[in-house]
């Protein structure tokens, strides 16, 4: 199968440009003094097709096979896909990632981890509907980020969520329900735990995040304040792979978490994305 692409390419022709900016020397002889009429730019139809270079293809072939063997391995089914959301839609993929981080961290620590947060910028692809493969999880999380647990106060949890709203209209979190109301100039930020109980500013909770955010990446400075960091040594990607493998083993599909974690009116979402939301 060879799609033939017909590209209309605007080609700036060197010659007429040269005519417009004549050289100081040498002066062309009088017989050549009047330049031929040339258009400044010419639209030409170009049919371009390039076969693989045999040398590169040969060098690549064993690596392609190795990648295919590793990354084509099947995981669970994802019947409806899992998406990051666009234009203010909730980031359900991010919700699943943070739920998974929280569950794994709770399991590792043997204690409830009440909050998890990652950055939407670190989730690089959606999960399309169908059979998930190892490569799909690498597509979502290509980075070598590590799962880290920290201790935060309730106030710091709220600050981190708010920073995510101000920075990007809301970053993926697990454990908290957030509502934005009021106006762009005078917004009202409201936070509760997912079970409906109020967040006490002074209460100490365990939280899961990534080493990237804990080290100050992506403008969520409050996460840097986390105390008693536990670097799990587990790549976030491995945590996601393990979760999918567990679903496959239990013959269960990967389904999207419920919506309703972030409630942000469209106008306030736009204001947040344009960094015009009051603090």
């Amino acid at each position: 199968m060879k799609p033939r692409l017909f590209c209309l390419s605007l080609l700036l022709v060197l010659a007429p440009l040269a005519c417009e900016k004549p050289f100081a020397a040498p002066v062309p002889p009088p017989s050549q003094a009047s330049p031929p009429a040339l258009t400044k730019a010419e639209a030409i139809g170009v049919v371009q097709a390039f076969a693989d270079d045999p040398g590169i293809a040969a060098a690549l072939a064993p690596r392609q096979a190795e990648i295919k063997a590793t990354f084509d391995q099947p995981l669970c089914q994802c019947p409806k896909g899992l998406f990051r959301g666009r234009n203010g839609e909730e980031n359900l993929l991010g919700y699943w990632v943070t739920d998974t981080m929280r569950a794994r961290a709770s399991q590792l620590l043997g204690k409830p981890v009440r909050f998890a947060m990652t950055n939407s910028g670190g989730l690089r692809a959606n999960l399309s509907a169908g059979q998930l493969k190892v490569a799909d999880i690498y597509g979502v999380m290509p980075f070598e980020n590590e799962l880290v647990t920290i201790e935060l106060t309730g106030q710091e949890v709220m600050d981190a969520v708010k920073q995510g709203v101000l920075h990007r209209g809301g970053e993926p979190t697990s454990g908290v329900r957030f509502t934005l109301s009021g106006t762009a100039e005078n917004p009202v930020y409201a936070f509760i735990w997912e079970d409906g109980t109020p967040i006490q500013p002074g209460e100490a909770v365990l939280a899961a995040t990534t080493d990237y955010l804990y080290n100050g990446g992506d403008s969520i400075p409050t996460l840097k304040k986390g105390r008693h960091p536990f670097t799990t040594g587990l790549a976030l990607r491995q945590v996601l792979l393990d979760a999918c493998a567990a679903l496959a083993k239990a013959d269960q599909p990967l389904l999207a978490p419920h919506t309703g974690r972030y409630t942000i009116p469209a106008d306030l979402y736009t204001a947040a994305r344009e960094h015009k939301l009051g603090k």
Binding site: L12, L17, P28, A49, R63, T70, G217, D218
Partner: protein
């Protein structure tokens, strides 16, 4: 490349040559150079698969190699360059940690590259391990590598490519690590202002090395909307750069943006990302000055 296209290019070359008298002693093609370039290839070694919108079926380093060979076969003076962010984006990177990218780029015949923020994704030590597979130099003049001397040795602030009748000066700049690279991953490497770092380098290339063309490999981004220095604002701050081969912002340009500065025009180009396009810029020079320039992206299609 189709026959029609080859014939067209040949005709173009002839037309251009006949219209561009250069220094008497030089042959008509002597002071012309073609810059081929990529940016932000992000380990897209294979072509994009279906379901990738306009990128579907495009790219792939084996095809890019064919395209580069075809151009090189028809033109004597060609440089193949990259503006950084070679790493991160496909399982190839996770598996081979950038070594395969640099190995293949070396085989394709890259003349120089620079470093983007994602090239630090596995830290300085693993970047160095991958760089051992690159047979081309890495250009950067605004990373202070005092705390990472091994990387400092591998980076060159600038270089001069000598052609039979002219010289091309090349340098590179990288984007601020802040918020993009975790401090642990650029340990020992400090970012310095690109304009401050570039000024003496460009002056040296122009006034001491007396190059005919100054080319900057930039991983600053095309337009940072005032948040940070970018390719659109750099030329006015550092006059004397003829071409900026840009990256970082994944900007698809149809042709180079021409910006007037004190010492001439800077041609700023960037061709998206993922190896979807190969950029091509052509320059004709005389007496150390650019006399004509053009540029366009070539889609890497099968």
């Amino acid at each position: 490349m189709s026959l029609e296209r080859r014939q067209f290019l040949a005709a173009l070359g002839a037309a251009a040559a006949s219209q561009m008298p250069l220094r008497a002693a030089e042959s008509s093609t002597a002071a012309r150079i073609t810059l081929l370039h990529t940016n932000d290839t992000h380990s897209h070694i294979d072509p994009f698969g279906p379901g990738n919108g306009a990128a579907s079926g495009k790219g792939g380093i084996a095809r890019r190699a064919t395209l580069v060979k075809q151009v090189r076969a028809g033109i004597p003076n060609v440089l193949l360059l990259d503006a950084g962010d070679t790493f991160q984006g496909t399982p190839y990177f996770n598996q081979y940690k950038g070594k395969l990218d640099y190995e293949l780029m070396s085989k394709v015949g890259y003349d120089a590259s620079t470093l983007g923020n994602h090239d630090f994704d596995n830290g300085v030590d693993m970047l160095l391990e991958a760089m051992a597979f690159a047979s081309f130099p890495f250009l950067n003049c605004n990373f202070d590598c005092k705390g990472a001397p091994a990387l400092g040795q591998r980076l060159r602030p600038w270089m001069v490519k000598q052609f039979p009748t002219f010289k091309v000066g090349l340098t590179g700049v990288g984007v601020d690590f802040k918020g993009l690279v975790s401090p642990e991953n650029h340990k020992g490497v400090d970012w310095r202002s690109p304009e401050e770092a570039l000024r003496p380098v460009v002056r040296h290339l122009r006034d001491v090395e007396k190059v005919d063309l100054v080319v900057l490999l930039s991983h600053l981004g095309y337009d940072q909307k005032g948040d940070a220095i970018d390719d659109l604002h750099l030329p006015a701050l550092v006059p004397g750069i003829d071409a900026i081969i840009g990256g970082h912002s994944h900007t698809f340009l149809d042709q180079p943006t021409e910006l007037q500065q004190e010492r001439g025009i800077t041609h700023v180009f960037q061709v998206g990302w993922g190896g979807i396009n190969l950029g091509r810029m052509d320059f004709a020079m005389a007496k150390g000055q650019v006399r004509a320039a053009s540029g366009r992206p070539i889609p890497v299609s099968a």
